[in-house]
Symmetry: D2
Subunit: 291 residues, 4 copies
């Protein structure tokens, strides 16, 4: 289903996060070595070497990793507990399951489906859920199931959100809002229980909220942008994963901004999704560390 991951068999990704302290790098490297792992790549960041927080992402190769994963996890627990570090250990050959939520606009949705088909995104896509049916045929032509969950009229969205949760629950590892034009309740976020990635059509924190391209035109900015971020209870305030901009001029209409912005949106979202799928994005409060 995601053939690009075949070359990742026996590749593990270890994420470690905790208070920075002397010896922790050596302890992790020694652990990998004594478990016959061969480090493929290693990135780390410390917010402050004395008293700060430490983050590390290590990809290592270990023959028959699936067989010994439990053993390594036991070693990790024993080794990192004294340091007060938390950690996750993922098998990189198992793609994350990504659901996409969409509305009418197809540019971000189709770009993700197309990149997935090309083998550029190491995920599986068990479903697309949309509150319109306009993209159903396109989605299914990629061999991906399409579910239509119409938006509930009125401010109470609990029924339609409940239906979406029923579809997602247990079936996905993260959710991407590909220009999904409904605001999700904090109740929904709590129930769905996996990371949700959004693409906002402005260079946040500029032009928070609705109609950013109209606002950008009104303010007369010379660059427009897009921002991909994790969704939190606070609208447009979640940790930013990636941003980019494109130059515009007085001659560009609001429609031109929308058209040119769409290109930035799909580029930014696809990078954020790729990095999340590769476990490259670590959250730290309302920030991200992108390795």
């Amino acid at each position: 289903m995601t053939p690009q991951r075949e070359d990742l068999i026996d590749h593990a990704c270890l994420i470690v996060d905790g208070p920075d302290q002397s010896g922790v790098v050596a302890a992790i490297a020694a652990l990998i070595a004594r478990n016959q792992g061969n480090i493929v790549s290693l990135d780390q960041h410390s917010t402050d070497p004395s008293g700060g927080r430490f983050f590390q992402r290590v990809v290592f190769h270990r023959a028959n990793f699936a067989v010994v994963k439990d053993e390594i996890e036991a070693d990790l627990a024993a080794t990192l507990e004294p340091f007060g570090m938390s950690w996750t250990l993922a098998d990189l050959s198992i793609p994350k399951r990504m659901a996409i939520l969409a509305s009418k606009d197809d540019h971000c949705l189709l770009d993700l489906l197309w990149r997935h088909r090309r083998g550029e995104l190491p995920v599986s896509i068990p479903m697309v859920i949309a509150n319109h049916t306009t993209t159903a045929e396109d989605v299914r032509s990629f061999g991906v199931p399409f579910f239509h969950v119409p938006s509930q009229a009125g401010p109470d969205k609990s029924q339609s959100e409940a239906e979406i949760v029923r579809l997602l629950k247990g079936n996905v590892d993260f959710v991407v809002l590909a220009r999904y034009m409904q605001i999700l309740s904090s109740d929904f976020l709590a129930q769905v229980g996996v990371p949700v990635i959004n693409i906002h059509h402005s260079f946040l924190p500029a032009f928070i909220g609705a109609n950013p391209y109209r606002k950008a035109k009104e303010r007369g900015v010379k660059l427009i942008g897009a921002t991909s971020h994790y969704v939190t209870e606070d609208l447009d305030e979640g940790p930013i994963i990636e941003q980019d901009v494109v130059r515009v001029t007085h001659a560009d209409s609001a429609d031109d901004l929308r058209r040119r912005g769409a290109d930035v949106e799909r580029a930014v979202l696809s990078r954020a999704v790729l990095w999340h799928a590769q476990d490259r994005v670590l959250r730290h409060g309302n920030h991200t560390i992108v390795f």
Copy 2:
């Protein structure tokens, strides 16, 4: 004093602005032709061809322009009055006089002085005014007069502003705030009576107000920027001339942002100043048209 303008002798810049209507382009072009002008460059923009506003910038060559400027102006008045257009006609060989206001930070100030010495900015610089003396020696080494006007303590800045107005009044065609860290009163702006260009150290409208780099670090943005705009009564809300951004990461400290932002600031400000000096920036409400 500004040798690059020698090649602009007999070059005129006509700016026209008014309600868009049929025939206005032909009328202007015919006027230039019957006054023996040879069009060098022409840019125009209409906010809406039917019922919108029309803007045009024409540079033309006319032998002995200085001698016939009055005649052409009379023709312009007669020709454009029926169209309800306003206009200005400038002799491009006469550089605009630019004053720079600065504080302690030298990056924007020195960049402008250095570009001017290289012949990149078609202006004269009759004075630099600063509320600190740290840059005095550097400024004078460029052969530019330096005046120290200390900032007045307390909220009332009327005395120090009055002193600055006395220095500027009648001596300059525009003022550049090269990271001048004082907020100017609307009274000052009214009295000084010439355009004032500021450089704000953020990608406006993000991070309006003080300490944008600290705010950018707190928000965890992936790009930082700078914005050059005309100063109006509304702080950080004036018409934007130019903006740019640079990529940053989680590994960049607030100091790194400041250092990298300084490069964007001086680049953005120098472009805004160049375009203003060349009469390329037309104001339309709170927007700019940059030809």
Copy 3:
């Protein structure tokens, strides 16, 4: 078929090109005015105001343009002949007919088809011709005819080229090579008789010829790029329409370069195609002027 052009009914695009001289701008503007045209946009460029070459693109609105096009053309001939100018007058509501030639790689091809469906490209697409069948189903799902013309083995491509010419001849206004991996003979170019636009997967003139990403990796460059140009007899030497680059690092493999380059390729090609379709690209020797 190209619904975005409905708003362009009665819009004409006049391209003028010839020796720069006094009065030509006025003559053209007067011509448009006396033919009841209302100028919507105007761009011009002179390689040198005295003795250089002059280029102008004017879009104007004229009620019932289709009815009076012949009359305006007669006026243009009479008016511009004395100036020695050449010109074309196009009805902007009639989309240009664009054929796409492709091979196996689908990123540029699908991006053009998708942008066309969104209404972003003011063209009609009468056919896609490919030397492989891998993209047939995708192409037809956009409602576009797909023709398979296998590449001829050996150096003599005259038969397959003749078949392509038979398909194109009279049916298209320009041809786009969307990563078409065959070199076209000068004979083919002469017979097809319309502009041919290529996308080269490097920042020309760097890495001319085959395998530019491998060469880029070998040279250790820090940016890779793509170039869209008109095809001439000299391989990779035709007039450049658009270029762009993206940053890469030592950590990017040749495959990464290919993947990231593909994004630049489709972005650059789509801009070049849009501008060509809008008559914004004027050729001047081996250069382009892009208005």
Copy 4:
């Protein structure tokens, strides 16, 4: 002399380079830990985890580093010898000594001097050597010695090169060619014995050799660039450290290209110099790894 390095007292930078193999990361981390070092940052790269080449840069803090440097070096020799790795260990509080060679053009030279004064470049600058005297006063105003070594007429530059070598020998850790318009002989490079960094005014490998802006104008490219690289015997072929580009149009003259290119040149060179000064640039054949 370079006050920014005070905060780097007791900071060491270890560079390791050798065949990739299991356990090497753990061995290095354990070494730093047993020598009471606290890792501040760590970057590594492997050209291929099995059978490739491994590169690592570790910055660590060790109280009284200067006192124990010899001990740590002995430990490094004993530890890394079995792995066949080579290494260097630098005291980050001791700035590298940088000489600048210049000609008439001042933009790269002054930018480096100004950044150094601002504390942005962790180097000392014992001298500027130029083959013209135009920049002497400016250089000395920064408190930096200026030496004039005129270029020798004719193809034989051995005498002037010998004089430059006499000035540099033993006094500098690296040399920057800040638009120094003389080609240095391989003999010179051998005798000077330290890395030499150049800034080339094109996006290499495009427009190798002289007059790249003229060539860029002739070819009609839409972006121009600059490249900073280590100087080797093969002109313009050395390992690339950094590159960047800026957009240009048909309306830009060759002079405009030169002016806009100068901004890119100084930006690219200053980044390359900063990274080299921080030991972030590792050479690998004709490539660089920039951490």
